[in-house]
Symmetry: C2
Subunit: 365 residues, 2 copies
DNA sequence: TCCCGTGATGTAAACGTTTCCACCCTGACA
DNA sequence: TGTCAGGGTGGAAACGTTTACATCACGGGA
């Protein structure tokens, strides 16, 4: 059970030099005679020596690891984000210490504290956790990038990256209005969710621009699940005056809604246009393919990591807030393909874009 | 830039005791007078003291971290696996050091070596990397669980967990044959891929059982992508004698194939039955919903982690090999819903199962 | 010939913990 | 009153590195 691990001393002994020389030889620091160096490398090889990370971190004060703190490790969003962070991190020689946390009371604190001395920096996504909690449980000096944090985080001295929910929803709203729709239903996300709220605001803004009013009857509650989208769809069907278009605050709800419509024989997009948000992979495979707003998630991770690397390089700078773009993806479900915008729709067929996406992250940015 | 971090010494000074006492008080080891303990806790609180992980690891030889090594951090498989490992790990107080590696020559080695002194155990998925490479770059004593490794890994003294590809494919083959199909096409996966190979073997076994012969013309090459499934579908369409059923070695290919068939006006399942493997989330949303084989990925991660925990607890035992179940999921694409097996299909409607799945991992096992 | 710079190496301190050991004190027991 | 047990505490070693500093030999320039 006790690890009979070989340490630098063993290498030193075998190569008949001091540990200092071994360290120098292995790290290419300071002068070492070629002959000695050769002997040391051979000894290390023979003994299968691997330096002890913790010991090294202790003295160098560098772990070459960055922590990633996420509310839940679930689904495509998570894996995409990690992928974005990981590729950038690895390229720079960093590893990832990943930790999800559930909403259990003291859990965030516990996880945060566990990070001390194990990471050089932190990427945290904290929808619930306030900036104060973060700072209280973290060493003052730890570089930190907040993902989708509250807008006031900047004021607290945090640098963060947020998704441009507002811009994306605005684009979708404009698009639907541009297609001639006037009565547009909105399936909202969870009350407390910041993304959901921003998307609602973006949609409202589009309405305002066009001089349309938001009818309370056309704004339905949802919670980002397919099920809630399905329920909302049935509610819409029961309305005396049905909307000609529906904008769901995320793709899952849009899909649930689509099922409800289809069950009732309502055709999409002929009878009702439909738009979503997120561009989850399923979206391009359902029929009709879903018009949605793409969030470059992997890119989000990449940007966060790059910020951290910048901080490591010493250029601290003042806390910034960056917006990750959210771009409209026009597919079949909005009916643009039947109208004058057919070319735009054609330029993004569901199939070829699938293959594009496969390696998207590798060439992101 | 240098971290003005507060250490145990600062706490000791403030509480007017020795560092030894602070350590004892904070870890509840050895006797400390209540009054002193109180003073120490207050001091720690006031200074926002957080123990230094690396330093602690150095002396205790425990990092409370386990390494996860994956060939690629991409897609649903990855996130599900991580989720399975993470939930189990966190419950036991462990963190995850995640590292993907690309196929660059020395990269696996580099990543492996970086793990020394940073992890207490390792979960590795190594389709390409041989057992020898692993051992050569890892301390002898490090507990290791291999995911989907080669069957001979066990002989090398590794304990591993593999997906029951053979059993799953066998079940699918039996199912299709049971529905009366005699000419069944098989879309194979990548040549070198072990999973793909095992699935092929399972299918062949089902044919053998039924006294059917595998026609070379009905076995098409593929590489697990939608595109290759699409190509295979077109090849099948060009065949003089078309198969009445198609079994694709994974869902992505099945979906690509489905598109090819649909383009040609071939109806599924009326004109041709279709089966896949993996049960990726899209599968239940396409129309018709795809009959497939579900692999409990999160469960795979959970099992791996449990093995590791067992090893930490000291019960080393001989290297075992565990098989993670792969179960047949009957949906519409195989046509069972139209036949005598309608009840089985109904018991698994695409929608309710979606919601089931949402929290599947939390109650796995 | 002397001095000094420089390359090659070793010694030892330091990083922040945990833990073994020794010490002191108090009280109980003989 | 002496001894012993044991609670409470501090000193110091140890973990495996890196690195500042010291040492030494050697060679070149004055």
């Amino acid at each position: 059970m006790p690890s009979p691990s070989v340490s630098i001393k063993d290498v030193a002994k075998r190569a008949r030099v001091s540990v200092a020389t071994v360290s120098r030889a292995l790290n290419d620091k300071g002068p070492v005679k070629d002959e000695t160096k050769q002997r040391i490398l051979e000894a290390a090889e023979a003994l299968r020596y691997v330096p002890h990370g913790a010991a090294r971190s202790l003295i160098t004060n560098r772990t070459h690891t960055i922590g990633v703190l996420l509310p839940d490790v679930y689904g495509e969003f998570f894996s995409e984000l990690i992928r974005g962070i990981d590729t950038t991190a690895r390229r720079a020689g960093y590893h990832l210490l990943v930790s999800g946390f559930h909403s259990a009371p003291g859990e965030v604190e516990a996880v945060l504290r566990a990070m001390r001395g194990r990471v050089d920096g932190l990427v945290a996504m904290s929808p619930d956790v306030g900036p104060e909690t973060l700072r209280r449980n973290l060493p003052e000096s730890l570089p930190l990038v907040l993902l989708n944090g509250s807008p006031e985080a900047k004021a607290h001295g945090f640098t963060g990256i947020r998704i441009d929910n507002l811009g994306g929803a605005l684009a979708m709203g404009r698009h639907l209005i541009g297609l001639g729709h006037r009565a547009i239903a909105f399936l909202a996300g969870p009350e407390a969710n910041r993304d959901a709220e921003e998307r609602r605001r973006g949609f409202r803004e589009a309405l305002d621009e066009a001089g349309l009013v938001a009818l309370p009857a056309l704004e339905l509650a949802g919670d980002f699940t397919e099920e809630s989208g399905y329920r909302a769809g049935r509610e819409l069907l029961a309305l005396p005056l049905r909307p000609t278009a529906i904008f769901a605050a995320n793709d899952s709800m849009a899909i649930g809604c689509l099922l409800a419509l289809r069950e009732a024989g309502v055709r999409v997009p002929e009878d009702s246009a439909l738009g979503g948000f997120d561009d989850i992979p399923i979206s391009r495979f359902i029929s009709p393919p879903l018009t949605t707003v793409r969030v470059a998630i992997a890119d989000l991770g990449t940007r966060a990591m790059e910020r951290l690397l910048l901080a490591f390089a010493g250029s601290v700078g003042e806390p910034l807030e960056e917006l990750a773009p959210a771009t409209l993806i026009v597919r079949g479900s909005c009916g643009a393909g039947n109208g004058p915008e057919a070319t735009r729709a054609d330029s993004n067929p569901p199939f070829s874009s699938t293959f594009d996406r496969t390696r998207e992250g590798d060439r992101s940015r």
